[in-house]
Symmetry: C2
Subunit: 113 residues, 2 copies
DNA sequence: AATATATATCGCAAATATACGATTAAAAAC
DNA sequence: GTTTTTAATCGTATATTTGCGATATATATT
């Protein structure tokens, strides 16, 4: 690859693709579902639910946190995670805007005959 | 990584994460936007729009095609691409179901104090 | 027939992502 | 004060993704 060409795209496209890439692993979707269900979890609870080692789960949590989709606060030796709804909804809105934009351009006739 | 743990997740989570991963690169989002805008494009038109080499664009097109999101038909030496709306809407619906499912579980009180 | 055009594929290099065990750090329990 | 518990980080191995040039293939054009 040598050079990362990502920066040459529109910032909107980068923003959306970063969100999509973050959801691009089943573990991270499962984590969001678990957190939504339970409202908050300590790391260990999430590890129990996933078929992955603790260190791997910790990495996925870090990635979700870096994207702002979840937040974790220390609670003694434990670390309590929950969804950052504001941020999640912001990303969802952007995604919905894209899908709406695409759908409004859906042609009536068939293409590429 | 040694072993791919993806298969140990729920098929629904795998399905969604595959879709998300496919949108996880700005080039593929840009391709979908271009195809929606123009209804159909030959490969060369897409190459013109993107800041990537022809062979790289061809790879991204292949990935979108493998996921069923676009279809390409040969037209002489040219290859005409368009969006597979049925499939795209199917993925979007699944994604919307996830977001709805998450949002219905949004708590009223703050978590992780 | 020879040449030009268009695009898919191959082969390779580099970057990124995934996964785990081992270690570290910090608080809790004893 | 020592031990245990919890989770983050480090180091490392492997897999996957991204990107390009070169090549192959197939159709148009001349």
């Amino acid at each position: 690859m040598a050079i990362n060409k990502k920066s040459e795209f529109l910032s909107d496209e980068i923003y959306l693709s970063d969100f999509a890439r973050t959801l691009g692993h089943p573990a991270r979707i499962a984590i969001l579902k678990t957190l939504a269900e339970r409202h908050e979890c300590i790391c260990g609870e999430i590890v129990e639910v996933l078929p992955l080692a603790q260190s791997t789960v910790s990495q996925h949590l870090k990635e979700l946190k870096n994207m702002g989709l979840i937040q974790g606060t220390l609670n003694g030796p434990k670390s309590c995670y929950c969804i950052n709804w504001e941020k999640l909804e912001e990303y969802m809105d952007s995604f919905n805007k894209l899908t709406t934009e695409l759908l409004t351009k859906k042609p009536t006739a068939l293409c590429c005959k």
